[in-house]
Symmetry: C2
Subunit: 560 residues, 2 copies
């Protein structure tokens, strides 16, 4: 092929920059764009059909740029292909209603899930695929590279250096992919400093990678997603947390781990300095974490349990506590957190021995999903954390023991010695409104048909889950050897749900004799001991007190 | 626990910086260290037992810092714990002989493998673990965080901003983990610019993350690892490449992929604009790559086959070609490559449908390894690329088809629909010196015993490999249903090796009838057509010519 020009991306980039300079005139000063000039900036730099990353993270939102993008003229800017982690704001979907955007590749939609499903069935949105976070970032460097990135930072200096503050999150991955492929990076910031008399507290993204900076009229929105009020933890959750600690963490010697979001895992965090301490486990489990700065971890940190925490994002109210606990968190020279979702997801995948999280439904094969009918939500990072990292080659006692259990007695390729990640699903047998967590058939199958997906939206596959933990006991699926054993192991911890009631009692007892199923009493746990008194903090006030007043929960969590 | 201070890392960092200022006096100007003051810099900033990353990449080496570290006083600096990707230089091992270092966590040792094995058996080196690259980076953020990072860049400005040039490689991952955990970052550079009258071509690492910069007396060493002279490609390799293209790439419609290093895969690259073009496959396969800038890919790029390439590192001599092909490569505003091993490994893991590479030995379970007796080498990135990414949730036709083949007729968890990555091992049945590539027992098992490893050093597990390709045919292991079928499928392509000769002929013919084994003639490939004439370049000169003279191979490859 004779191709005349192989630097069309660079030429196109220069065109866009020239158009922006022309459109903005004096409203552009170096890289600094006047706040009221953002819509013309977007209209001059965007082209129809562009692939655009509008930074929507799990927490931090480029909300001003989202509103501004909604305001562009759809005659001029249309059919954008949005490639962003999270659809969190109504504006993210408004873009599709107005025709500004058409195609979508994403990871998680949370509260927008129902509206997203409606727009998909009305054919206003064409979904490329639903990814896990790290998987989407990976595609930014392969076939979903953004042409324009619209990101959020806390502050910028006159040169365009960005300071993200604790919620660095996805920004480095997005900006790197865009800046090094002839794309354009536009950042909204809460504050501007001149860089000469006032300097940024630190640099998170170098100016060299940023084309335009605009001060937003309001600070960017950040959602406190990881705050769980200990007052809402039930005694059943305390019991399950005791089983997790004694039956899994201690059993395997889990030193490096990730916790999902929720009250179940918050209960584990709050039992470390009390129950786990009484078992003599300090220093033996839970030393290194890939985890957001969960407030529920404060008592364990204060009690000296935690050596390090690397974070995907941050958590509102934890700023001063993190600053005062620099030995534990990854912070910059300014003392504030440097989170990084890409590296933390890699850490969760490759450097952790255990992931534990909750789900809404589990079927008889052990497949689990939070997908529910009429909503398209995605799973964020869970499938990455909740999968065996088969490229892992470094050993740890926990990983080796799990691998031995999975492979004992097997032959051929399946019997070749190898470690395995512990992947635990922790659920009460009935969730709210008495919906059973155990089902014959996941809603995911119906959703697949409804939404025309290639595969059912399964969060964690039965092939990958190693333990299911309910108030009735722990099913260790590493030890099952065929479909029937797996089914009965699951039924055997499914309590009074229809799935649980339909168990083969004799087979379940046999599995219990083999240690495949373990009840609280098999673990030496007396359910009467499972009271809220075991929690190292029983209220938000307790958490704040445990932090010496350094943790300052957002107003809506301040109930004292 | 009552802990008096939770910012000991920051205090310790301040101590080290103060010691360095004191030790260097006028030989320190801002962040700039006089070349002859590096040994005192290291002696003042390092403490016994420190975890240290001495940047040893697959290609770029912080060689001046390595030599300087070898020169420190072992009375003062000793028992370091080295955490680095690659042990490439003799100096890397000298550190252990002199007692400066004691413990080692790494990914690949290449030419130092034999000496490493000797030092381990002499108990001079304590190996923590051997990792894949991304796995080691992940641990930098969990339990192997460097206290001091000694890195290499092409240039720095007076503020300490770093320009890496095309070999960015591991630097961003190393520096981020160190700089945001109270560590110290020291960079050797080839050039210094003042940042005022002369600016860096671009910024790869912001000054904010760098503590000290020193100009090395010589430019850092970079190894051209990915150059393969087309003159050395055999007709058997041409035949195997034809089978890969027609029997795997076309069959699955592989659009996004990674190639291992070697002549086998170079042959595939050189057949795209000729053989694959004749099959009408242009635009249907091989559009997006996670790959270093392989010179052998030049003819395919020139023929318009390649839309994008994201790279782990770079390749010497490709600088001007990359600059002139900015639409294809990830480059900065300066036109030179921005490689990034962490993101490219993530891309290979999560965004590619196929990995194809070579090995030295394959056993009857399909386990393969390049480990050989008396050497401890590691596998670099291969286990990460050559493993199914079980956290992946986005679909592609190639991935869905592989998943369907693997799961057809299975029940339970193993039958739940799911995609699968294509992992191909491409080997001639006999390697050099007539050593059979197919063996009853991998040397890895003996090496495990010799070196006291927890597990045998298997590069790619039989559980993960999907196809084995030899000059005799392709064994599609996705279609086997038990150990015996797997064994016979492997024997059936193992040619005249003892393993191949011991095949059950009737069973192999049966597997061929089922399409588990496919011979060249089953694929409509006439081996007589497999001549070197099919190669789009047959010499280094041809490659250079194909690039319009832009590719300038290193002297040792210039044979015209």
């Amino acid at each position: 092929m004779d191709r005349l020009n192989w630097n069309t991306k660079a030429l196109n980039r220069a065109d866009r920059l020239a158009r922006a300079r022309h459109a903005l005139g004096t409203r552009l000063d170096g890289k600094l764009v006047a706040t009221d000039a953002v819509v013309p900036l977007l209209e001059s730099t965007l082209e129809a059909g562009d692939r655009v990353c509008l930074e929507g993270n799990n927490q931090k939102q480029a909300d001003f740029l989202a509103r501004s993008l909604r305001a562009v003229d759809p005659q001029q800017v249309h059919d954008l292909h949005m490639v962003q982690s999270v659809l969190a704001l109504p504006e993210h979907l408004d873009l599709f209603e107005s025709g500004v955007a058409r195609r979508l590749d994403f990871s998680f939609s949370g509260p927008q899930g129902a509206r997203l499903a409606n727009l998909v069935s009305a054919r206003r949105i064409e979904i490329g695929a639903i990814h896990t976070y790290l998987e989407l970032f990976a595609r930014y460097f392969v076939d979903l590279t953004p042409k324009v990135a619209l990101v959020a930072a806390h502050a910028a200096d006159a040169q365009g250096n960005l300071y993200t503050g604790p919620n660095t999150e996805d920004t480095p991955a997005i900006v790197e992919a865009t800046a090094f492929s002839g794309g354009i990076v536009i950042a909204q910031v809460n504050e501007l400093v001149d860089g000469a008399t006032t300097k940024l507290p630190r640099v998170d993204i170098p100016a060299d990678w940023v084309d335009f900076v605009v001060k937003a009229p309001r600070p960017n929105f950040i959602e406190p997603l990881f705050t769980r009020d200990p007052a809402q933890i039930s005694e059943i959750q305390v019991l399950m947390a005791m089983m997790a600690i004694k039956g899994i963490y201690a059993e395997y010697g889990v030193q490096r781990l990730n916790h999902g979001i929720g009250f179940d895992t918050a209960a584990i965090e709050l039992l470390l300095p009390t129950y786990a301490e009484s078992l003599g486990l300090k220093g033996k489990i839970c030393r290194h974490w890939a985890l957001n700065p969960h407030p529920a971890l404060i008592p364990a940190i204060e009690a000296g349990w935690v050596e390090s925490i690397h974070s995907f994002g941050s958590e509102l109210g934890m700023e001063e506590y993190i600053r005062a606990r620099g030995d534990v968190f990854f912070t910059g020279a300014d003392g504030s957190l440097r989170s990084n979702r890409a590296f933390c997801q890699a850490a969760g995948h490759y450097a952790c021995d255990l992931f534990i999280g909750s789900t809404l439904q589990i079927d008889l094969d052990g497949n689990s999903s939070t997908a529910t009918l009429g909503r398209i939500t995605g799973f964020g990072g869970a499938p990455n954390m909740g999968a065996d990292a088969r490229g892992r080659r470094h050993a740890s006692p926990a990983w080796l023991k799990a691998g031995r259990e999975a492979r004992a007695g097997r032959t051929g390729a399946a019997g070749t010695p190898r470690g395995q990640k512990l992947v635990v699903q922790m659920v009460e047998t009935f969730r709210e409104h008495m919906q059973p967590a155990f089902v014959e058939r996941l809603d995911a199958w119906t959703l697949q048909e409804q939404a025309g997906m290639e595969l059912p939206p399964i969060m964690i596959y039965g092939d990958d889950v190693t333990h299911i933990l309910t108030e009735e006991g722990i099913a260790n699926l590493l030890l099952v050897r065929n479909d029937e054993e797996r089914e009965q192991a699951i039924r055997g911890v499914a309590g009074y749900t229809p799935v649980g009631l339909a168990r083969d009692r004799r087979m379940v007892e046999n599995l219990r004799d083999r240690g495949v199923i373990r009840r609280p009493e098999d673990l030496g746990i007396d359910p009467r001991m499972a009271t809220r008194n075991l929690l190292a903090a029983r209220s938000m006030r307790d958490l704040s007190d445990a932090s010496g007043g350094l943790y300052r929960p957002p107003a809506r969590f301040r109930n004292w």
